[in-house]
């Protein structure tokens, strides 16, 4: 299987021949930053196109089909429109906080994006507390949303932000606990090791019942965490116009929009990495020829395919279920998901202690 660290090592070697140590590091920081941001933007644009197409097919429409073949260039055109739009200055707002909020949201999402192991040898941040770091940085986004809602000086925004805060803080518990269940199973928090351990069977299959429960809980909580339907109360357009980003215009609105899609991508990639083996091909112990055939497919392709499946499920949620009420939303978390999660954690500990897994 192709190892991407060959490429990165080659770039490193080339730079070291020409430049002194500290300049090599600086150049690499800049290069990695550029790659991350370009990847971030492209993935967001693709996701926006996919979302519109999927939504259209669910509603028996065609979706974007005018700009480019099959409307493929539609989201690019939208991006340029958004980039050239005016940033409207709202009166009677705390301008500093108002302008700061979108950046906090997007920084949190970019940091989480940087932790994901995309392919063999293609991972940027790989701490030995990787999963924990990922949860930590993605929890920063809440502050940005709360600040956006407060500084907009608008009742709809404030209500949207409060709902969003309550929702994200609650569902973060479920996400943390379901990931913790899998950390108990794998025995490590480092994302690269978690992927490597799934070489002979993905955790979803090896961990059987508790892993399956954790996966379902993670998907529900992850959908809620990204403020997507059916949990999109913070921006319920029929009651709150657009929730916390009502007052934003131009690229500042674009940042919230990008962050929302990228958070969906991050949630799907974490689900892939922890439950579905990350970039690891489907291996079945004993079937040597089958495993060898699976290894021919590039690891990046495996990762993208799995993420695409998870993202499709999340989109399916959105266009199938009606929106929840705020009390139903909080009841679902505190009365159902959290107890299920705690029992599941105990079950997983028992499974690991008595070695009942595959």
């Amino acid at each position: 299987m192709f190892d991407f660290s060959v490429v990165t090592k080659w770039v490193d070697m080339m730079l070291r021949q020409w430049l002194p140590e500290s300049w090599v590091l600086t150049t690499e920081f800049v290069l990695i930053g550029l790659c991350v941001l370009v990847g971030y933007a492209i993935i967001a644009l693709v996701l926006i196109y996919v979302e519109r197409k999927v939504c259209a097919f669910f509603q028996c429409r065609l979706g974007p089909n005018r700009v480019g073949p099959y409307g493929l260039l539609q989201s690019f055109a939208d991006m340029f429109k958004m980039l050239t739009k005016e940033l409207i200055e709202v009166n009677h707002v705390d301008r500093f906080l108002f302008n700061l909020a979108p950046y906090i949201v997007i920084i949190s999402s970019v940091l989480a994006f940087g932790c994901i192991p995309f392919a063999k040898g293609l991972e940027i941040i790989d701490f030995n507390v990787g999963v924990f770091f990922l949860i930590a940085v993605s929890s920063i986004g809440i502050v940005g949303i709360l600040l956006a809602g407060w500084s907009s000086n608008n009742k709809y925004s404030l209500i949207g932000a409060m709902r969003s805060g309550a929702q994200m803080i609650s569902y973060e518990l479920s996400i943390g606990l379901s990931i913790l269940t899998m950390v108990v199973f794998s025995g490590t928090m480092q994302l690269s090791t978690i992927v490597a351990e799934q070489a002979d069977g993905w955790f979803l299959f090896r961990g059987h019942i508790p892993a399956l429960i954790a996966f379902v809980v993670y998907l529900i909580a992850g959908t809620a965490e990204t403020n997507r339907g059916p949990f999109d109360l913070p921006e319920a357009d029929s009651e709150l116009t657009a929730g916390y980003h009502t007052e934003y215009s131009g690229m500042h609105f674009g940042f919230f929009y990008l962050a929302e899609y990228l958070n969906m991508f991050v949630v799907a990639s974490v689900a892939t990495t922890i439950f579905l083996g990350g970039w690891m091909p489907l291996h079945i112990p004993g079937w040597e020829a089958f495993n060898a055939a699976m290894d021919w497919i590039p690891s990046l392709l495996w990762f993208i395919a799995k993420v695409a499946v998870v993202i499709f499920i999340i989109m399916w949620f959105k266009w199938t279920f009606p929106r929840l009420r705020i009390d139903q939303l909080l009841r679902l978390e505190w009365k159902y998901l959290l107890p299920i999660n705690l029992v599941n954690l105990l079950l997983m500990v028992l499974v690991v202690v008595f070695e009942l897994h595959f």
Binding site: L25, T26, L97, N128, I135, V143, L146
Partner: protein, 169 residues
């Protein structure tokens, strides 16, 4: 004098910490103060990451940046009043605050100057998670985090009980 990247990063983080700490106490709007505090906490987490102590850095991010600051912002949102009428602070209060600040600074400087820190060394690589876990849950010498957390849960139960009794109608 050659300045390494490590030092550059440290100086940037230190400047952010100092600047935002001062701004946090001098600003007149309470939500801005909370935001500056958030930046101070971020930069502190950055220093932990620089020391290769990623666990503490991540804890700093979740507990302080993601937890405590959100709690502050939430309570400000729920209780916020009109910010334009901040009452003027009395002169005696200013004086008392100044003395307290100076005394605190004097104690801090005295301890930093007199304490021998030993030779500092940046050990390469991260601390293994195993070692952290054992230190957190252990019962050996200097390992009293578990009883400490138990007591904090007990205190939390007491607070909840107290509120319940006080609010009984």
């Amino acid at each position: 004098m050659e300045i390494t990247i490590q030092e550059t990063v440290f100086f940037i983080l230190a400047a952010v910490i100092v600047g935002c700490s001062i701004l946090a106490v001098t600003t007149r709007r309470i939500l801005r103060a909370a935001t500056y505090l958030l930046f101070v906490l971020f930069a502190t987490a950055g220093i932990y990451f620089q020391l290769n102590y990623s666990f503490l850095g991540a804890v700093q991010l979740t507990v302080y940046a993601g937890g405590i600051t959100v709690l502050y912002v939430f309570s400000i949102l729920l209780t916020s009043t009109d910010n334009r009428h901040i009452e003027k602070i009395k002169r005696s209060k200013v004086f008392a605050g100044l003395i307290a600040a100076l005394a605190g600074a004097a104690i801090c400087i005295f301890i930093t100057v007199t304490h021998s820190f030993g030779s500092y060394h940046l050990t390469g690589g991260e601390l293994p998670v195993d070692a952290i876990g054992k230190a957190l849950m252990g019962t050996g010498k200097y390992q009293y985090l578990l009883p400490f957390e138990l007591i904090s849960v007990l205190l939390l139960a007491c607070i909840v009980g107290g509120i319940l009794i006080a609010r009984k109608r």
